[in-house]
Symmetry: C2
Subunit: 300 residues, 2 copies
């Protein structure tokens, strides 16, 4: 028996909500995660152990983790920036974490106040301790197709950072077009270059839909062998109709495309669309998934 052709990593409850203006009640987060894990999604990013001063949206992650129903076979990774965060994660019974680095020096400096090399050195003890505790580690690389400060990014730099994260023990590398500027041929070329250093089976594609390019980019990445896709129900992550907001690609749109391509995801699209409509209403924003809106309209 083989599983779905594509593994969707649902990042709405973390990457999505972290970038929403509204502070979401813990009850809502718990309901969101539990509803998502019931749709067949194999991975639901559940929160982050980061400074509540910097990221107040994630301050209740321990509470969220204590209250969700952990469904067998579903992963609930949390973002962890340092050993303090990892300690909290271990105390919360986390079995998967994610660490992050930028492919842009300027972005690294402005976002986490250190160079890329320093950020990677800082993760070494974190990933070591994680693995000592049997915790799987995912690595996020940001700004892979462009940086708001530097502009274009050399794919070789992305490959180098990705390879270093694998050396540090990351089982999977998620390549993030953080500002959504990529286009398909550039996305494909990036995957090809990174795959020279890290097997494509260990790479995930993480696109934001700022310029509307996310699905087209994913299509190009599928042609390069990508089989893991990060996405966010209802396109959570930045108000989609504000000027220049940078939401994640919507999971509903991704699943609709994949199923149309004959690529199974194991995800119940109607159930997912219902969740997208519900969470959009719950946090008072428009639903940024076009497939979600269309399916909800059909359902009446």
């Amino acid at each position: 028996m083989s599983g779905p052709a594509i593994r969707i990593v649902e990042v709405g409850p973390r990457d999505g909500l972290q970038n929403e203006a509204a502070l979401v009640p813990t009850d809502t987060k718990v309901a969101l995660i539990d509803r998502l894990s019931a749709t067949g999604l194999p991975v639901v990013e559940a929160g982050a152990f980061v400074s509540p001063k910097w990221v107040p949206q994630m301050a209740d992650t321990a509470d969220v983790l204590a209250r969700i129903q952990r469904r067998p076979g579903v992963g609930y990774p949390v973002l962890v920036p340092n050993e303090r965060g990892l300690t909290q994660a271990l105390a919360a019974g986390v079995t998967e974490i994610a660490v992050f680095a930028a492919a842009s020096e300027a972005f690294s400096q402005r976002n986490i106040n250190c160079s890329i090399a320093e950020s990677l050195d800082r993760f070494a003890p974190v990933t070591r301790l994680a693995r000592d505790n049997g915790v799987a580690v995912r690595g996020y690389v940001s700004c892979v197709l462009g940086c708001p400060y530097e502009g274009a990014i050399d794919p070789a730099k992305v490959a180098e950072v990705s390879a270093r994260l694998v050396e540090l023990g990351c089982a999977e590398i998620s390549l993030g077009d953080t500002i959504g500027v990529g286009t398909p041929a550039k996305a494909a070329a990036l995957i090809r270059r990174v795959a020279e250093e890290v097997p494509v089976s260990r790479l995930a594609a993480h696109f934001h839909d700022t310029y509307g390019q996310a699905l087209a980019n994913l299509l190009a990445c599928l042609d390069e062998g990508i089989r893991v896709i990060d996405s966010s129900v209802a396109g959570l992550g930045g108000c989609p109709y504000a000027k220049g907001a940078t939401g994640n690609v919507a999971t509903e749109d991704v699943v609709y495309m994949l199923e149309g391509q004959g690529l199974s995801t194991g995800v119940d699209l109607d159930a997912l669309s219902a969740i997208g409509g519900w969470i959009s209403d719950a946090i008072g924003r428009p639903n940024a998934s076009r497939a979600g809106r269309a399916l909800l309209a059909k359902a009446g």
Copy 2:
């Protein structure tokens, strides 16, 4: 000297505005068309000579045509359903018209109250008279990837209707995914099948973004040799944030992707984005172009 790699057919002032809830003042339409033709767009669909009872949004087409500045080298086709419409078009000095047929029998019956064959027979004298007057004719085929009443549509049927429109004298056939249900592999298979009957150089791709698939579908069609793309500034055509609304793919998003792919369009994307912002404000709807919104935000 060779022209742009891709020819964009801007359909916002007709296919777009015709499907907007708001009735747009003639002054605004004239300004929209004149601003669009100044961006480098080679074709700006300018209106329709259809019954004002059925399509009140297009009732002022003769007025619009009398008042726009006709820029040399730019085409201003109008939609024409019958000889009466053609007579009006000729009187207005039109040099390009478009006729339309469905690839779905059920859609043809419900939309124009006759069979596909009857609709094509009805166009025969129209296209003959058009050509006798040196007027170029474009043919639209609707529901090419799905019908709201019939569901899936056989690509062979689309090929048959397209071939018949070419026989009737259409120089170009625009294949329309009217309800936006297509996905990339299906779009590519359609183009391949229709290209067995009509050279791909005479085909245009016309996608609606109902399920968010339009750009990915266009990418797949480009791989099949499509070089003419219909799109609508700001994604005009149905409120984008209403449930199930079915706007055209936004011209800004298309141009952004094409330029990123190294495929020239000759269109000034910044000027186009400004127009998209202006017309969205003017008719009181959100701007449905994500590239447009992002570029406007960057411009400040």
